[in-house]
Symmetry: C2
Subunit: 236 residues, 2 copies
Amino acid sequence: MTAMRILIVHAHPEPRSFNGALTDSARALLPTIGHELIVSDLYAMEWDPVSDRRNFTIRADPERYDQQAEERFAASAGSFSSDLRAEMDKLLWADTVIFQFPIWWLGMPAIMKGWIDRVFAVGVAYGGGKWLDQGRLAPRRAMLSVTTGGGAAPYADVGLYGPIDPILYPIHHGILRFTGFQVIEPFIVYGPSRMTELQRAATLAQYRLRLMNLASAPTLPVIHAADYENFVRRQA
Amino acid sequence: MTAMRILIVHAHPEPRSFNGALTDSARALLPTIGHELIVSDLYAMEWDPVSDRRNFTIRADPERYDQQAEERFAASAGSFSSDLRAEMDKLLWADTVIFQFPIWWLGMPAIMKGWIDRVFAVGVAYGGGKWLDQGRLAPRRAMLSVTTGGGAAPYADVGLYGPIDPILYPIHHGILRFTGFQVIEPFIVYGPSRMTELQRAATLAQYRLRLMNLASAPTLPVIHAADYENFVRRQA
């Protein structure tokens, strides 16, 4: 097995939650099967998710704040704040990133959305016309490992929310695939708080199995940048 | 015209941005046409988007943190933290809520997602089997007013991101319609930073027109809770 460098970005306010148990399983397993592991436990780190002027130690324009322009400047001047720099270093170190979070309001908890907002800066995660399979973060791989509050019924075709794939599309496509990740099929646990202890233990075992087979886990289709470049050129 | 009580939840780190101009237009217009207006300017308020123990002044369970259980307790004990209580009061006061934000990574900036995560608590915004047209926040109305970084091309049918409606679905359906809002068609400005001054002025005029006709603006289809209750019962 090829050794991987795995970053888990973990967001849950209670360490003894099922999200905590999933990441604890990963912490116990991954180093023993030869992988390197770093965990960014966002609540434990008291990660600040608010993207603003404080992202930068020097400002390109001290008057009017244009976040993308500031990011472009900081990427060349090396002037990202130290908390951003630390997370960017982890991201660039990793070849595989796992995002562990409970789905809140059909999306990421704010603390994790703000990790993306701040760390995925122009000149680091995207920019310069590099996207999709040509993206700056290619050929990295990423996987969402998520829990839901209720059971699976709301995510049925005729359920209250509908199927989960379109719900995860903004993350899978707009964040991950856009920046160059190959997206591993998500590991989804529906309603762990409604499970028996036995069901929870079985689910943790399934997760360990997924982690052991991470290198061969199925991925979402790759989309080629060239197709969109042609499209954009036609529009221009 | 019937007077409305309008809450604008505004999220942008630069007051002189186009998002700022849109909300400034609303501030100038709405009171002059008879509406009451409150603006929650999240960056100016230094809103904390991280949902955790600090949401509560008393804890139902000081050991293990179960956010929904804590919310349920706080809703009956009146023990939400003062910053949450203030925003909940505005939400319940309003009959119309406008969310003004730039689309970052196909979603809300973290500071606004965390306004939802914290303010839309069980017992306040949802819970007790009340959802969709029977939701706790019915018969309120809500509208997204959003900007994008690039132009409209990525949101074309064959564009890099694809159509914006499915991208907004987690917000429109999972947050707003779920809690009982009638969802007004979004006001979308593609790439204001790439516009000429004249185009920007014309767009602000269109926004004022939308605000003047807010009561009759088209809404997304209402979905009836009864349909899903039958479905859930069949699954149980």
